[in-house]
Amino acid sequence: MERAEVAEMMGSRFGIPPEAFEAVSFFLRGRNVWAFSLPEVPDLDYEAVGLRFISLRGRVPKPSTYALQLFGRFATKNVVDLSSDQARKFIAGERQSMEADLEDGYVVVAHQGDVLGCGLYSRGELISQLPKERRIGEGGIENLLEGGGR
């Protein structure tokens, strides 16, 4: 998988500059793109190599929450910064209606400028794409205080 192809996907959707991926190699396994630090892996039996980055299963490429947590901070569009109340819902894995300057599709979801993960924006609703094992039910989050937490 060419780096330029991945940079193009992340650039056209999120405005992330291609230089962000300069030190990263990408390869395709099944219908997932994985990111790794080196162009070649040494000859060993592997359980896993690198970080799951983009799923090509759907109609449009879907970045993993982990990819966005690393590179989402370079995004210039399709980013939404949530209030603490909204963040709590997102982390619980819920959907919520929201007026935002976003194109329909996958978006970078942040809180106070730090990336929480991947969301899907569709017809005025933000749907959490956080992996199930990362979700924390409402009230579970220790430090999201009412009214912004700052």
């Binding site: 030190a23 630090s37 080196l38 060993l44 359980e47 690198g50 970080l51 982990y66 220790e142």
Partner: protein
């Protein structure tokens, strides 16, 4: 005090040691520099009214005033990794650099793997190996959350890790875990000399393989979280006897109190050189207990 009275003659201020071992551990975490900045994270936590203060000896480690650090938003985002303070010392002594080839021979659940990945700035190659099925799942999950992209996970029996050459190797092997008593007091009841000696065979074989797969000039760090010399100095000494061209380097971390490794124990002499290893006791830095040796290959 099962299994601890045998150390009365070697642990300094033994009364204070015993008293410390029954106190719960402070809550600690490591800031993940792959995903956030140190100041940014500290500001975030303080803004959310989580009291925190960096360790005096390691700027990426913090003590936190919270009982449930796992439920912090910063943990979910991978900006912190919950890790016992003293366990951060192995990677600091290993001192991996960006772009190197590094092996973490007994890696699960990946506290040290993710710390090493961060020190390597996500570059080069970090092979994280562990044969234990269930534990590899948590290793992978921790690497994902940390955003490690230079980690390749393997599941070899470390004693038979394939021939490869690494700049640095960490052997953080299985042990009787006496140093974890502050987290789980039951470890003390489970200790026996027989268990220590049984593990010693495995530890020797793991460290020996670790040394074999290091490049000439490479560094191998051996660490455990137990006090038993049978699993510490005796292991290092046995491997050094059987391997030529390996020397011990002084382990000294500024602002972290330690005691020297033991030159002798229970009638066996390991040699003065073993004093270059470091023993960390709970009452010295208010942490768990730990042992670290640093070997360098000619």
């Amino acid at each position: 005090m099962d299994g601890l009275s045998r150390y009365a003659g070697v642990i300094p201020e033994f009364d204070r040691f015993v008293e410390a071992i029954y106190r719960p551990l402070p809550t600690t975490a490591r800031i993940n520099g792959l995903k956030t900045g140190r100041d940014r994270l500290l500001t975030r936590l303080r803004g959310a009214q989580v009291p925190c203060s960096p360790f005096p000896w390691y700027p990426w480690g913090i003590r936190m005033g919270t009982d449930k650090p796992g439920n912090l938003l910063e943990n979910l985002m991978g900006h912190i990794h919950i890790q016992e303070e003293i366990s951060m010392v192995s990677a600091v002594v290993l001192d991996p650099r960006p772009g190197e080839r590094v092996l973490d021979l007994c890696a699960a659940p990946g506290s040290k793997t993710t710390q090493i990945a961060m020190m390597m700035e996500n570059r080069g190659l970090l092979v994280a190996n562990d044969p234990a099925n269930g534990r590899v799942a948590s290793l992978r999950s921790n690497c994902e959350r940390a955003g490690a992209i230079n980690v390749a996970v393997t599941r070899y029996d470390g004693r038979r890790f394939p021939a490869q050459k690494f700049d640095r190797v960490l052997v953080d092997g299985p042990c009787t875990g006496q140093g974890m008593a502050r987290k789980d007091p039951a470890v003390l009841g489970r200790w026996s000399l027989k268990r220590s000696l049984g593990l010693q065979r495995l530890q020797v074989a793991l460290l020996k393989r670790g040394v074999e797969v290091a490049k000439p000039g490479g560094t191998v760090v051996y660490s455990t979280c137990t006090f038993a010399p049978e699993e510490n100095e005796a292991v290092v000494s046995r491997v050094m006897e059987r391997t030529s061209g390996v020397s011990l380097q002084e382990v000294a971390v500024p602002d972290l109190e330690s005691s020297p490794g033991l030159a002798e124990w229970g009638g066996s002499s390991f040699g003065d050189e073993m004093k270059r290893c470091a023993r960390y006791y709970p009452h010295q830095n208010d942490t768990g207990g730990f042992f670290v040796a640093k070997l360098v290959k000619e």
